[in-house]
Amino acid sequence: MSNEQAPPNRLVIDVTIKGGNVTPTNEQLKSGIKEQIVVRVNSDVADELHVHSTPEHSFNVEAKPMQSFQFTVDVPGKVDVELHKLNKTIATIQVQ
């Protein structure tokens, strides 16, 4: 029996940027099409979060804890989530 009250599936990525180091990096994740993907960032530096989906998303990361960015991906494929200024790939999400 399905639970109507259950929250929709969503993928949460917790990211910490501290002293130029990013955790996690090069993570392999999976998600469904049009599923919520949330990136929660604790950062001590301003940066840009790029989501290389189709179409692309870009979020401004500020130097503060508990920021949350949310997006969905409508086109199946491998989506890279990157920090632009630090040049690090946080995760590659397989959306299908």
């Binding site: 790029h50 989906s53 692309e56 086109v75 491998k78 890279d80 990157e82 690090k88 959306v95």
Partner: protein, 435 residues
């Protein structure tokens, strides 16, 4: 839906999602089929060369011929393969390069002329090589008239095509180095000195996009018959007309190796490896560039060794064999590029057309290109490349003039052996990278 924000991101790199990984089983089955099929074909039915670059194609209605004549395409030039010269190649001819032509007609000719072949591969050429020549001409610049030394072959291209072919590969993330984009724009200083010094040959031999276009044009179904008429025919007949110049093996190896590296560099293993061993963006880029060089080097090395392993030829011929057989890599290069970048062609192609025509209401249709299509393209390229044996025709010619040749039977045996050998390395590295 394209938001303003996403456009801003697109503006500084080739973004978007990439294809889903091909399931291992698909890749394995595809590779097994390609190997079995081509070995069976080569061993059982391919006893003698079947592709002949001198074979005339089926002439098209004469419209194209006359239109082309008016623009002064030089016919009957002496160098080998003139009769089967593809349309895509005509703009690299020295004489047409020195002639003032309106830029618009030039663009049109290039687009129309190249439309017969793999568009994905030609598009960069159309988009990027024309402005250099055109701008040069529009500004009324003169070249210094220096001779481009024959011995340089297509040498400069070897190093130059590294950043272009894997434009995003050496960069740490998906946002390419600003440099690599700039290096290939028409206003780039790197493309100008050679052009100004020896305009005529520089474009044809050293301009990355033109050399790529020439390679891709060998797989075009369109060509020119002996009488100069534009004709359509089997693309494989046309392959051996690839001009053999110093550096051709290296060029093809880079084209193949860089595509393979493009997939490998996106794997988390490789990314972690780079992150662990490097501290800054500069060193990361250096390490990635080294990886790219290794991939190209492996392709070139295995191909070179296998080509030289042919039996029954004299030392002189043996030295020439890698170059003479290089064209057999073209279908693999093109098939491989298609397998990897088909999604880009379909989706960015739509975006480009919508942007060009200003269709504000049109929407891009995103197609999930099936992995099996990718595998199919890939294997198609392999199958196309492997049994392609005009190379052994060349080897055979060499054997015929060799002072101490073996018996006729022995020669045929060697031929069959080399037919397998010479394409094999390419496909091995190809499959390795594709999986």
């Amino acid at each position: 839906m394209i938001t303003d924000r996403s456009v801003a991101v697109l503006a500084h790199g080739l973004g978007g999602s990439t294809d889903l990984p091909i399931p291992f089983a698909y890749a394995l089955i595809g590779a097994a089929w390609a190997l079995t099929f081509t070995f069976a074909v080569v061993a059982l039915t391919w006893r003698r060369p079947r592709f002949d670059p001198d074979k005339p194609g089926r002439p098209l209605p004469p419209v194209g011929y006359h239109a082309d004549r008016r623009t002064g395409h030089p016919l009957g030039r002496g160098d080998r393969g003139a009769a089967v010269r593809g349309l895509g190649r005509d703009h690299r001819l020295p004489r047409s390069a020195g002639r003032a032509q309106p830029a618009a007609r030039r663009v049109l000719r290039a687009v129309v002329g190249r439309a017969g072949g793999p568009l994905a591969c030609r598009w960069p050429g159309v988009a990027c090589d024309l402005p250099v020549r055109t701008v040069h001409r529009l500004l009324g610049l003169r070249s210094l008239g220096l001779r481009y030394p024959e011995s340089m072959g297509i040498g400069p291209r070897r190093s130059a095509c590294l950043p272009s072919s894997g434009s995003s590969s050496p960069a740490p993330t998906r946002d390419p180095l600003p440099r690599s984009g700039f290096g290939y724009s028409p206003i780039s200083p790197s493309r100008w000195p050679g052009h100004c010094a020896a305009a005529k040959r520089w474009c044809a031999r050293a301009d990355p996009f033109e050399v790529y276009s020439v390679v891709a044009s060998r797989l075009s179904a369109l060509r020119r018959n002996h009488d100069g008429r534009i004709a359509i025919g089997n693309p494989f007949d046309h392959l051996p007309s690839l001009p053999v110049r110093p550096g051709i093996v290296a060029v093809l190896a880079v084209l193949l190796g860089s595509t393979a590296f493009d997939s490998v560099s996106a794997t988390p293993k490789w990314r972690n490896f780079v992150d662990e061993h490097t501290g800054s963006i500069a060193t990361a880029t250096l390490l990635r560039t080294a990886g790219l060089l290794v991939f190209a080097g492996v392709v070139a090395g295995t191909f070179w060794l296998a080509a030289r392993a042919t039996g029954g030829v004299d030392p002189q011929r043996r030295r020439e064999l890698p170059g003479l057989m290089a064209h057999s890599l073209i279908p693999i290069v093109i098939g491989y590029a298609f397998a990897h970048y088909l999604t880009y062609l379909v989706e960015r192609g739509q975006q480009t057309i919508i942007g060009l025509l200003g269709l504000s209401h049109a929407e891009v249709h995103y197609v999930a290109v099936n992995a099996s299509v990718g595998v199919g393209r890939h294997q198609g390229g392999l199958c196309g490349g492997r049994p392609h044996r005009r190379c052994d025709r060349r080897a055979r010619q060499g054997i015929a003039v060799a002072p101490r040749r073996s018996s006729a039977d022995g020669t045929a045996g060697n031929d069959a052996g080399d037919g397998r050998l010479h394409v094999h390395p390419g496909s091995i590295s190809c499959s390795a990278g594709g999986g």
